[in-house]
């Protein structure tokens, strides 16, 4: 690894540690830094409530943000490469719409048909929503993979993905119309996205699943590098383009499905972070971009979570708004800067 790359990676790693600690430190209840450290290192704390806040609320939330940010960013990078489209992101293929559709079915229909409002079921309801999101997202993803084997052009596939997303959104709209107000609210809250929703036991499940999936997605670096060259060249260099495209979509789709199931649809991170990394590292090599996106995604998600929880907002700010407010300028600045440099050369 070249030295500037190593330095960049270390800086990203340090920023994650720093932001993670800040996520534990800052919040509506102020806890001294020394006490936070004590809780982490397993020492005795003066205030049991503080210990509870940190271990039961802030720590799981920060961990969720870290892992979700990493997953979405890696998925976004894979999507942008396989579609050769800078605007591609985790949401373009309708995978997150699929998750929404699954949740909408469970939340909105269970109230209607079963006579039980899922929003009142507590833990079981939460679990059902997660499962519904995963099933919905994976179903859409399989549909896309099937289509990917049929059509040749990337743009065609992209458009079909976007269309599937629209259809899913339309069905959700119909479902909403026929549902009880209470259930609609539960769905809307889910749709805002949050790193705080995942509760204690589920956090570990989420983290473990992602800890298995993320390294698996790294197995595709050579494939992704070849796909950059275009289908013809990739094929001539020995790549089975159709199979490669399918695997990349599966990898990105599963990552998005899991994250969306646990956190709701989180917009923009997956789109913005790969651009940010290309801007920082000035490379298109996925051996650099994949780990960079993972680290930068984790870091940026922690930052967004921190801002969403800033004193004054008191958790009122949905994470989705923060990611968009931070993500959009980042993409704009990076692209603008690149344009200037390219024409300056």
């Amino acid at each position: 690894m070249k030295r500037p790359v190593a330095i960049g990676m270390i800086l990203l790693g340090v920023s994650i540690l720093l932001l993670f600690f800040l996520n534990l430190l800052l919040g509506s209840v102020s806890i001294p830094a020394g006490q936070v450290w004590k809780v982490l290192s397993g020492g005795d704390v003066d205030n049991a409530i503080w210990q509870n806040i940190i271990l039961k609320s802030r720590f799981p939330q920060a961990l969720t943000a870290l892992v979700a940010g990493a997953g979405l960013s890696v998925a976004g990078l894979q999507m942008q490469t396989v579609f050769r489209n800078p605007l591609a992101g985790p949401s373009v293929l309708g995978v997150s719409s699929g998750a929404s559709l699954g949740v909408a079915f469970v939340v909105l229909l269970s109230g209607r048909l079963g006579g039980v409002a899922l929003s009142r079921l507590g833990y079981m309801g939460e679990f059902a929503m997660t499962m519904a999101a995963i099933i919905g997202a994976l179903a859409i993803m399989l549909l896309i993979v099937w289509v990917a084997q049929k059509v040749r052009g990337n743009v065609t596939l992209l458009i079909i993905g976007v269309m599937i997303g629209y259809v899913a959104t339309a069905i959700i709209g119909v479902l909403k119309f026929f549902s009880a107000e209470e259930d609609v609210r539960a769905y809307v809250v889910w749709g805002l996205g949050s790193f705080a929703r995942v509760s204690g036991g589920q956090v570990m499940t989420f983290v473990i699943i992602m800890a298995i999936l993320l390294p698996l997605s790294f197995l595709l670096v050579k494939t992704l590098n070849l796909l950059l060259l275009g289908d013809g060249y990739a094929r001539n260099l020995g790549l089975n383009v159709r199979r490669a495209r399918m695997w990349v979509i599966v990898s990105a789709g599963v990552l998005v499905a899991i994250v969306t199931a646990y956190c709701g649809p989180i917009s923009f991170l997956g789109l913005a972070v790969p651009h940010l990394c290309r801007g920082i590292f000035r490379t298109s090599d996925h051996r650099v971009l994949m780990p960079a996106s993972l680290l930068a995604g984790a870091s940026l998600a922690l930052l967004c979570n921190l801002i969403a929880r800033m004193p004054g907002f008191e958790g009122a700010l949905p994470v989705n708004s923060v990611t968009a407010l931070i993500g959009a300028p980042v993409v704009a600045v990076v692209l603008f800067k690149r344009r200037k440099e390219d024409t300056g050369e």
Binding site: R235, N236, N240, D342
Partner: protein, 330 residues
């Protein structure tokens, strides 16, 4: 001259297979392509040049017939094996951002690298050698998006060389280039075919250049199949004469090149110094006047050089001292 047959094609039909129909682009192609030679594929748009190249590269299955590469049927090669036998330079333009020339040429090593695609010291040396052969070592740290079309074409050729395939196919490598770059690229490919003993097969629209530089020509015409031969043989047997027959274009056997041939309105007989006469002929041709030595025309132009080395043109009683003056007189 050392030439070995590397690609043998028998009764090949090429085209596209749709669900219910088959669109045949060309059929009955039987010939071979040899190593150590530059073979140029010529033909009008739509004649099937790209389809033939795509079929030979294994991108497109043949409709009928056999292709054998280095004595083995094309379909018997696995993807990974084929990547070490055939290298391609395509017309598809990849919008690569933030990739250096060295990295791009390094991609040519992918069939040989391991799981992560990391280049070994040996791979790096081969990339440098490929850059050296094409003469673009100085470009190696440039980003691909900052290169000119000609430079980018050379980078893709270097990629194909780094791939170390005995066969290289190029689809219109000279399109979009300025004239000197076209010449440079074709010279480069000719040199590589000789020095590296590669089989180089390329399609092009640059007729004049191909006639001068190609060892073998493949002429492809819609519905007429493929005619193969050296440019000189094809010139002598009249194939080239009829091949690109169009109003206003004529094949000139003396030079073996095509030239623009307008429809003549009148004739002039030439006399005198051959160099001066040639210039008069060229100028008059452009103006729709046919000029030659053996014409029975009453108008005679006598072109000579004066002892001071100045040209002088005599028509009847008029004397002109430049072509411009001569044209005015006529």
């Amino acid at each position: 001259m050392k030439r070995e047959e590397t690609i043998r094609i028998q009764h090949l039909s090429i085209g596209y297979r749709a669900k219910h129909s088959v669109k045949t682009v060309a059929e009955g192609i039987s010939d071979s392509i040899c190593s150590g030679e530059l073979t140029c594929l010529l033909g009008e748009n739509g004649a099937g040049k790209s389809t033939l190249l795509r079929t030979l590269s294994g991108f497109l299955p043949p409709l009928a017939g056999q292709i054998s590469i280095l004595g083995r049927p094309l379909e018997a090669y696995r993807e990974k094996e084929l990547a070490t036998v055939i290298g391609v330079v395509l017309t598809e333009k990849n919008n690569l951002q933030n990739m250096t020339v060295e990295e791009l040429v390094g991609m040519g090593r992918s069939p040989y690298t391991g799981f992560w695609g990391r280049l070994s010291a040996e791979d790096k040396a081969k990339v440098q050698a490929a850059l050296g052969l094409v003469g673009i070592v100085s470009l190696q740290d440039r980003l691909v998006q900052t290169l000119s079309d000609g430079e980018r074409q050379k980078v893709m050729i270097a990629k194909a060389l780094a791939q170390e395939t005995p066969i290289i196919f190029l689809d219109e490598p000279t399109a979009f280039l300025d004239y000197p770059s076209k010449v440079e690229i074709l010279h480069l490919l000719h040199r590589l075919s000789r020095e590296m003993h590669k089989t180089i097969f390329l399609s092009t629209h640059d007729l004049e250049l191909a006639l001068q530089i190609a060892d073998q020509l493949w002429l492809m015409a819609r519905g007429r199949g493929v005619t193969v031969g050296t440019p000189e043989d094809l010139a002598l047997d009249g194939t080239l004469d009829t091949f690109f027959q169009r109003k206003g274009v004529a094949f000139e056997k003396q030079t073996g090149l095509y030239r623009i041939e307008p429809s003549y309105q009148s004739e002039v007989r030439l006399e005198g110094d051959p160099v001066a006469c040639e210039m008069v002929r060229k100028a008059l041709r452009r103006n729709g006047i046919r000029a030659d030595y053996d014409l029975a025309s009453p108008t005679v132009v006598h072109a000579v050089f004066t002892p001071e080395g100045k040209p002088e043109f005599t028509i009847g009683s008029h004397i002109a001292h430049s072509i411009a003056e001569l044209l005015e007189t006529l």
